[in-house]
């Protein structure tokens, strides 16, 4: 290719202009702005003027019991969703990969929730979770279990949210796992079979190690996504963060501070904390991911 000239440079930026304009205004500038806003301690939103800067938002944030609750809940949510979701989706992916007919059909079904509106399915689930007339409590009743106040008891609100989230996200993980499984060459299995390895042995000593980069990737993505949970909560608990803040997550906290209480500085500070957490996981992914590359 020829060296860049001023003419080709002009042309290049001309082609880039529409995308660049949007990305600068709505992706790059806001990153900087968000960082700055977290230091706004006295901000007049209506006139977009800042009267004072400082670190108070961060001290305030970590003194706010609600933010601590939000961090805690988010952590519980991540721990509740990620391992379970990965185990279930891996199991299903392995079953789907076992050369059966209808595998495509099943894959389609498992993937369905992924393409649907979170809000809509959360509303459907809130109906399933209904304590008196919900399908779930009815089913539990068949096993002699007393009705559970899924959505109004703080103990069960988080499990309800976790069930919904796993159901919703299963398809995505399965697809990624399937892609990973299909990348494993058949020769390993043939060799193992010749050596007389049992199915479980093959799973443990071939599938799992060779799938580990995919597992790692899915874990990180799941963790990051779990940290961002919001829509599900809003819809499941009808615009509240669950009973007694039991489903108050960091993003929900940001939303509350920002849109319900107009505390832009505090909300930005909370968003910034979220960014740091997610960023750490991204970095882990990049570093460990590089190490994994020679696996394949």
């Amino acid at each position: 290719m020829q060296k860049p000239t001023w003419k080709s440079t002009l042309k290049g930026y001309l082609y880039l202009l529409p995308a660049l304009l949007i990305l600068i205004v709505f992706s790059i500038y806001p990153i900087i702005k968000s960082f700055l806003m977290s230091f706004y301690t006295d901000y007049d939103f209506f006139n977009d003027t800042v009267n004072a800067y400082g670190f108070e938002n961060f001290t305030k944030l970590f003194q706010d019991p609600n933010f601590i609750t939000a961090l805690k809940n988010t952590g519980i949510f991540v721990i509740g969703v990620v391992p379970l979701s990965i185990i279930i989706s891996l199991a299903i992916a392995v079953l789907l990969n076992s050369k059966i007919k209808l595998s495509g059909f099943f894959r389609t079904i498992y993937f369905l929730p992924f393409v649907t509106s979170v809000v809509a399915v959360a509303i459907v689930w809130s109906w399933i979770f209904h304590s008196d007339y919900g399908l779930l409590n009815y089913a539990l009743g068949l096993f002699g279990i007393d009705p559970i106040n899924w959505l109004t008891n703080p103990t069960y609100a988080m499990p309800a949210l976790i069930i919904l989230s796993i159901w919703k996200g299963l398809g995505f993980n399965i697809i990624i796992f399937l892609a990973g499984l299909q990348n494993i060459g058949n020769q390993y299995y043939l060799a193992a079979k010749v050596d007389g390895a049992s199915a479980w042995y093959r799973f443990k000593h071939i599938t799992l190690p060779l799938l580990s980069p995919t597992m790692f990737f899915v874990s990180i993505i799941s963790i990051i996504n779990a940290f961002k949970v919001f829509d599900e909560i809003f819809a499941l608990f009808n615009g509240r963060p669950g009973p007694a803040n039991s489903a108050l997550t960091v993003v929900y906290y940001v939303y509350q501070k920002f849109y319900e209480e107009w505390e832009f500085g505090l909300a930005s500070a909370a968003a910034f904390v979220l960014f740091i957490i997610i960023f750490l996981f991204t970095i882990i992914q990049l570093i460990v991911g590089k190490k994994f590359v020679h696996y394949n």
Binding site: D132, L151, T152, P154, P243, A244, N245, E260, W262
Partner: protein, 426 residues
């Protein structure tokens, strides 16, 4: 394929260009020089209430050729408040809106609503002394800040006790008049999947009412200092919590509004807004007789909070639009409309003359459910209106939730709520 894309992209450009113009018009009600002034009116009324508002707007529009009122439902009161804040910033506020009295101080502080004094005092389009005094005093007071009118009362409600008459009769019970009686009744009817008593999810109004009946103070009228963590406050809260813990009372929970379980017959009684009557009517299953009664008393002491909304005019609108909005405001609060509004919605009439009309009195006789609300004018009270009042309400609801879920003791929760409220109000 490429032609389709080309046409679509052209469409995109044109469409956005077109929206640019129309969205401005849409939000501010800018009007052509010769067309009618379009007034956008944001409210939080739904169901039968929204129907009523649409009707008033239509009636008004056909009577005023030069004005078109466009009512817009914004969801819940919280939604409405959020949307107004967002719109104020974006400069596309509507011309007028419903607003709860505890958010109006914030609007005044940020200077985006219009003082109504000029309109009221205007000899041509204003209100006469008599007319102004016809607005019921307690409502009038709640619309003035430092002797300046920033709003007019519109949808004012009080709390009433809804009861399932069929169920009470089956059990040979009378409608309770005191809290003791209510507890007894609730205990008796709580069986076969029916719960005796119900509270709305936001039952801090009941807490305030019982607190007042116990002689306590929620918020100091003068200083606006929250005082609800007092001994009386704790007793009031314990009273509610005990009923729920005993299983003879419940909250609406995932049903959102008590009208739903009450309508199904799952709850025998509940306390809710008088404005819930048409909703209950709609939710009621066939074969259940029901009505309303005043809030039970404690040691002969009656007390219930007034709640509800005023209407305000925003100053981002042009003068002609503000004037037109004022016309509609006058119309909405006129004796005829307020009495009709009351009959359609369960809200209280806000004009003395409306209360006194024969038509309204006949209506009350025929529809006793609507009566309880109007019987409580004397017992009604407003809580102090302070900037940040809305945030305080949310704090109280949050802490009450903790208490109810047993995550905090009554004392802890209320003290915490009071401390947080004080911090919020500083």
């Amino acid at each position: 394929m490429k032609k389709v894309i080309a046409v679509l992209s052209l469409f995109l450009v044109l469409f956005l260009a077109a929206c640019n113009n129309s969205s401005g018009a849409n939000a501010n009600g800018d009007s052509d020089a010769n067309g009618p002034v379009e007034i956008e009116f944001w409210h939080a009324m739904s169901g039968p209430h929204e129907e009523a508002i649409k009707k008033f707007a239509d009636d008004f529009n056909s009577a005023h050729e030069d004005i078109t009122i466009k009512p817009v439902n914004q969801g819940s009161y919280d939604d409405l408040q959020q949307k107004i804040m967002a719109a104020a910033k974006a400069g596309n506020l509507p011309d007028m809106a419903q607003a709860t009295t505890n958010v109006i101080p914030e609007y005044i502080d940020n200077k985006f609503i219009t003082s109504l004094n000029d309109f009221i005092e205007d000899p041509e389009i204003g209100l006469s002394e008599d007319e102004l005094n016809d607005y019921i005093e307690v409502f009038r007071d709640s619309s003035t800040w430092d002797d300046t009118y920033y709003s007019l009362p519109f949808s004012k409600s009080t709390r009433v006790l809804y009861y399932n008459q069929t169920l009470l009769e089956e059990n040979g019970l009378e409608v309770p008049k005191t809290w003791d009686e209510l507890q007894e009744v609730a205990k008796t009817v709580t069986k076969d999947g029916v719960v005796g008593m119900g509270f709305e999810n936001s039952y801090e109004a009941e807490f305030q009412g019982i607190l007042k009946q116990m002689g306590g103070t929620y918020m100091d009228e003068e200083t606006g200092e929250p005082q609800f963590a007092s001994k009386e406050g704790q007793e009031a809260m314990t009273f509610i919590k005990d009923m729920i813990d005993d299983g003879i009372a419940r909250t609406a929970g995932e049903d959102e509004y008590m009208s739903n379980p009450f309508g199904r017959g799952d709850v025998a009684m509940y306390i809710g807004s008088s404005a819930g009557i048409p909703h209950v009517d709609g939710a009621m299953e066939d074969g259940i007789e029901w009505s309303t009664a005043p809030i039970p008393t404690l040691d002969g002491q009656a007390a219930t909070t007034f709640a509800g909304n005023d209407v305000v005019i925003f100053n981002q609108s042009e003068e002609a639009e503000q004037k037109a909005a004022w016309e509609f405001m006058k119309y909405l609060t006129s004796p005829e409309v307020t009495s009709e509004w009351s009959m359609l919605s369960g809200y209280l009439p806000i004009r003395q003359s409306a209360l006194d009309t024969e038509e309204y009195q006949t209506f009350l006789e025929e529809n006793p459910a609507y009566k309880a609300g109007t019987e409580q004018f004397d017992a009604g009270f407003f809580i102090a209106r302070v900037p940040g009042g809305d945030a305080v309400r949310n704090i109280v609801l949050e802490e009450m939730d903790y208490i109810l879920q047993g995550m905090k003791s009554v004392e802890e929760g209320l003290t915490e709520a009071q401390d947080r409220a004080k911090a919020e109000l500083q």
